[in-house]
């Protein structure tokens, strides 16, 4: 009897429930974060009569700081689950004309402080485990990414697979957009890189973890560029990051070249002018691309031999008539032309990176570190001066596998 009583008493303890229990509707699931420099003050794009004007909001967005001047504005995107439920069931009311998300902006000097200050403005507990995307304004990226990323790496709630974007202009504007086919801009942006299999114009493998690894390893890299209009978001091209700071933008084709040379190419399309034709265009759908970089040292100057092997399917011709003419001879001619095009735009990209940005976005430094460590040890301290002078040769090899349904 005594034992039974003891067991019953012990069983009462777990009945109280988990210490960490938080009701699901009390959590503020942060889906996206936008980081802007302050000033300028973030201005919402989709303001309606139900929302306060930026001038009215600013006193709420400001906070007292123990140390440091307010330099940053952090905006978090919270889904308003109840409003979204009402919208889906047709029971719209109150602020039904507003969006189903709430973008709270806080201005401050540290991101942890801003995060906690938000608790003064919402009854929800900010929860970052389901964070999908962090958008950083180009202004902050130019000041240095490492300066602002510590909170996002140190906090146990953050995930390393969170997608990172650099916005052209204000980052908060991106979160304000309600995409036509998604409720939340953050979810939209987290799914967008899946299209990298179809287009080579957007950067891949650019999450928080990869970014931090590159910064800690002292490597230059590319982050995807994102820009928005009122109801649409576009991610193409990239931001070149050198020593943790943004040094400039990469065009879509430059990004394509970087992906081809760094073995990051997932799929895309290449268009060339038809050999010997004035107007004609030929299109190759690239299905497979693989590159190797071999380093060597000539006269104490590093040389890199980049070989790109591309396979694809003939996809289209424009302004010319090729019906029944795609024989082996023609295909060989096309392969040569595609090869030349790849070599040309890759060389142009390298030239710009070396001369204009000085950014080693191909991570040739890593190639030297891993493949010629003895040489790297000698030049490690002078790499920034040596890189613009390094000689780089590119050789492409293109194979057209299939022709579609017509020859």
């Amino acid at each position: 009897m005594k034992r039974l009583l003891l067991v019953l008493v012990i069983l009462i303890i777990p009945l109280a429930g988990c210490w960490d229990r938080v009701d699901i509707d009390m959590r503020g699931y942060v889906l996206g974060i936008a980081l802007d420099a302050y000033p300028p003050n973030p201005i919402g794009q989709n303001s309606s009569e139900f929302e306060a004007s930026p001038e009215e909001e600013e006193p709420l967005e400001r906070m007292e700081t123990h140390a440091g001047k307010p330099k940053y504005a952090m905006t978090v995107q919270l889904p308003m689950v109840k409003r979204a439920q009402n919208a889906s069931s047709g029971q719209m009311g109150g602020g039904s004309e507003g969006s189903s998300t709430w973008e709270i902006t806080q201005i401050g000097s540290s991101f942890m402080c801003m995060n906690r200050e938000m608790a003064t403005r919402t009854n929800l507990l900010m929860y970052y485990e389901h964070l999908q995307v962090i958008i950083i304004s180009d202004e902050i990226a130019k000041q240095g990414l490492e300066k602002v990323m510590d909170f996002f790496v140190r906090d146990p709630e953050m995930r390393r697979r969170v997608k990172i974007y650099i916005s052209k202009g204000e980052a908060k504007r991106i979160l304000d957009v309600i995409p036509r086919i998604e409720d939340y801009a953050s979810m939209y942006l987290s799914l967008l890189p899946l299209n990298a299999k179809k287009t080579s114009r957007m950067a891949t493998d650019t999450d928080l973890g990869e970014m931090i690894i590159n910064i800690h390893s002292g490597l230059d890299f590319v982050l995807p560029k994102v820009e928005a209009i009122k109801d649409e978001i576009k991610s193409s091209g990239g931001a070149a990051i050198k020593n943790g700071k943004m040094v400039g933008w990469l065009t879509e084709i430059e990004l394509e070249a970087v992906k081809l040379m760094r073995n990051l190419y997932r799929g895309g399309v290449l268009t060339i002018k038809t050999p010997g034709e004035e107007e004609g265009l030929n299109v190759l759908e690239i299905t497979k691309a693989k590159s190797t970089i071999k380093p060597s040292v000539k006269n104490n100057v590093p040389h890199f031999d980049i070989r790109i092997k591309v396979e694809g399917n003939y996809a289209e011709d424009v302004n010319i008539h090729t019906h029944g003419q795609l024989d082996m001879e023609y295909i060989k001619k096309l392969e040569k032309a595609f090869k030349k095009e790849i070599e040309t735009f890759c060389a142009q990209t390298i030239k710009r990176m070396q001369e204009e940005y000085g950014a080693d976005v191909l991570q040739l430094k890593k190639v030297l570190q891993t493949k010629t460590p003895a040489y790297w040890k000698k030049i490690a301290d002078h790499w920034d001066e040596i890189y613009p002078e390094a000689s780089i040769s590119i050789t492409a090899d293109v194979t057209v596998r299939l022709l579609g349904l017509e020859t």
């Binding site: 210490w19 485990e129 146990p156 697979r161």
Partner: protein, 364 residues
Amino acid sequence: MRVERLSKVQVMTITVGAIFGVDILMVQHHMVKIARQDGWISLAIGGLLSIGFAFIYYLLAVLHPDLDMPEIKLKLCGPFLGRLLLFPTALYAVLYAGLSARIFAQALKMFLLDRTPIYAIIALMLVVVAYSVYKGIYVIGSISDVIFPLCVFTVVSMLLLSFQQVDLDRLKPVLFENMDNVIRGIFPGFRHFMGFGIIAYIYCHTYQAKGTYKWFIAGLLIPIAFYVLLTVVSIGVFSVGSLEGLIFPTLTLSKSIEFPATFLERLESFTAVIWIALVFESLIVFFYISIRDFSVLFGISRKYDRYTIIVLIIAAYIISLLEPHGIQVLNYFRILVSTYTLYSLIIVPLLTGYALLKRRRSKQ
């Protein structure tokens, strides 16, 4: 006469349980800090050396088939010297258990139970540990039987799921002007496998059948393989620069896995649950060691084990909460294991040598 008997498989599962523990969360961080991208090589060499030392432990146990380690010490060295040699081991086991419990609670608080106080996490864990240890070595064997397959499944899944993120270039250059560091890393690598010493405590409870040694070595090889692979994968995923800054790389690794199915977004929760079981097993093994050591040290009869358990659990609880700084707890843990490893490297071969000598003399 001993009634409880452990099977050969249980020898393996208990050995695995004794080696794993909080180390599985941090092993890569330690090794990379010393030997950088070659940390896995130091760990592998340390692991291979530990197989040699494991044989010495096994031999000592085989020479005394009815005695466990504290009894062997007393038999070989006499009551005074034996107790003198026993004291550091007894102290080590209880300190190890206390610090392990604290590191376990810190990691759990970081990754899963952010609002539960550390004292509550440790208290609950120790209560369950106390109950399991009180039930004896046979129950410990059964617990390890249950936990072992879960542990293998979790670690293997984590390694496989992480592999697509591995960049093997991050492991290069291999051994380039890094030999000194690799050699320096061998001892720290070796100490991660010191749990093999459990054989000297459990051999007398086994059937002592042929093939026990093979299962014991299998119990050592599994953690060696897992630790080396975890280090290789972690370097490949995080790079040396990032790994040096991660306190619990294994949990961060499980958090970094990108799973296509959204409902498995928080895969680390599953890993953490299995890992709780792993630490639990490690704690019961070390509590068992400390109880046996203290019982023999003070000549306490087995029927009073329950009181020894209560005293030691309270002691471990106090030890776990003494140091306020989390980072210092990790330092103490490292120093403790290193010191004990050194002590064992000297004492156990001497004891085994002396036991062999004694046996030869008695034969003559």
